[in-house]
Symmetry: none
DNA sequence: ACTAGGTGTCATAATACTGTCACAATAACC
DNA sequence: GGTTATTGTGACAGTATTATGACACCTAGT
């Protein structure tokens, strides 16, 4: 048995009419584990936005026909896409354009040519600022899946009802397997900072979590067994132990 | 149950007296997900324009009876169709015709024989230029349909009365299913940016939305169930859950 | 001005979750 | 085996969170 952590990739839509530039950007972005969507014109771009809801748009300033500006304006007009972060990319070093782009609602501005590193930095900055970047971790141990973005635990695709504290505790355990944590440490990490709670309370929540992980069918694997008691020390989420 | 996002197809009216050519065009266009309307003469063409309001017209230069030119002139005279983009298609390589066509008001000009790719490119260009292309997203979950352009929600083809805020919220949820959003995030995405509103207000609108989605007949599916509350976290629009 | 619908806020009811305790069960150690 | 320390368990009452109905305000259309 083994722990798998999956980061739901941040999707970035690259809008540029020149394929070579798209390729270059794709390479730079995929190296950083971004998922890249492409569009060569505004129609495709809009289609991508609707179909795949990217987390961020890299938009070329100069697009044939309707320029990128129009596309940006449209995004900003529509309720659904008002929040979508956009970084303008342009060959023009013109300051006026920069101002105009930012006024319309671009979140940042990059001028060609640029070093990939700078672009990545700006992307991260924008994502951080906009709060879009909620690293959607999905942690998996065999059939046990914990999805933080969906705030959901499931066993073999079957949703498990679980309380908030139990959820946090399981999330903590699954991201720190094998290691033993004292009740006091668990209070710190799961409950957070300064709480004045009996240490024995941890036991109760451990029990609730175990109960939640028990299989509905008796012949299924019991994931509750992964939560081990270490007498005199605390608890441990062990993946090696079973399976 | 499953989320389907649909781009309301761009309707293109093909006006040509030769059926084989219409077929050829239909094939090329439908491959690109355009919706194709056909007309063999100007009378049919006009009828199609009135009945189905296409987004663009592909007009053959040489039509029996009234030529394509006359049809185009008529379109340009009428207020309702002044803006309708028209691409002339002709077998004549005659430059004069080209000029004449453009003067009357054709937006572009293609000579037979042409490669489909070029035609598609020109269509996209014209649509982009004219701004006519407003691909209207429609999101569907089973019998629940949300049409952004029409600003309308319907359940099993039956229109649901719904307020603006509820509409936006449903639209947001349907384009981001499964994921949990905090009240604060919902305020950001649905209300937009900087608003100073109580978080509890979200609850009230959630309730209004749920109420709106309740079935009129008690035996119908209750789409309100798709909106789940996640205690301590926020709300989630889950499609997997039910069905 | 008047209506009608939509919005945000509040008070209160309805729930779900928590922390704690008492006691049972188990392990460790003599 | 007997004793003690530690953990498991069920119950319960308090607490926090959410659902709901009511209301006053606002805005647009008449």
């Amino acid at each position: 048995m083994e722990v798998k952590k999956t980061m739901q990739a941040v999707k970035i839509l690259v809008v540029d009419d020149e394929a070579p530039i798209r390729d270059m950007l794709r390479m730079a972005l995929e190296l950083r584990d971004f998922e890249v969507l492409e569009a060569g014109d505004t129609r495709q771009a809009y289609q991508q936005v609707v179909d795949n809801s990217p987390h961020l748009v890299l938009l070329d300033w100069m697009l044939p026909g309707g320029s990128g500006v129009q596309f940006l304006q449209r995004l900003r007009k529509e309720d659904l896409t008002k929040q979508l972060p956009v970084i303008m990319v342009t060959a023009k070093h013109d300051e006026d354009n920069k101002v105009q782009g930012l006024e319309i609602g671009a979140d940042d501005y990059v001028t060609k040519p640029f070093v990939p590193k700078e672009l990545i930095a700006r992307i991260n900055a924008v994502l951080r600022r906009s709060g879009t970047l909620t690293p959607d971790a999905i942690i998996t141990v065999d059939g046990l899946k914990l999805d933080i973005a969906c705030h959901q635990v499931s066993i073999d695709e079957h949703v498990v009802e679980i309380g908030p504290t139990e959820f946090k505790m399981l999330a903590f355990f699954m991201s720190h397997p094998e290691r033993v944590y004292t009740r006091s440490q668990l209070l710190d990490h799961v409950w957070g900072g300064n709480v004045y709670i009996e240490e024995r309370t941890v036991d109760v929540h451990i029990r609730r979590l175990r109960k939640a992980l028990e299989p509905s069918q008796p012949d299924q694997f019991n994931y509750a067994d992964l939560i081990q008691t270490v007498r005199g020390a605390g608890y441990r989420f062990s993946v090696k132990a079973a399976g």
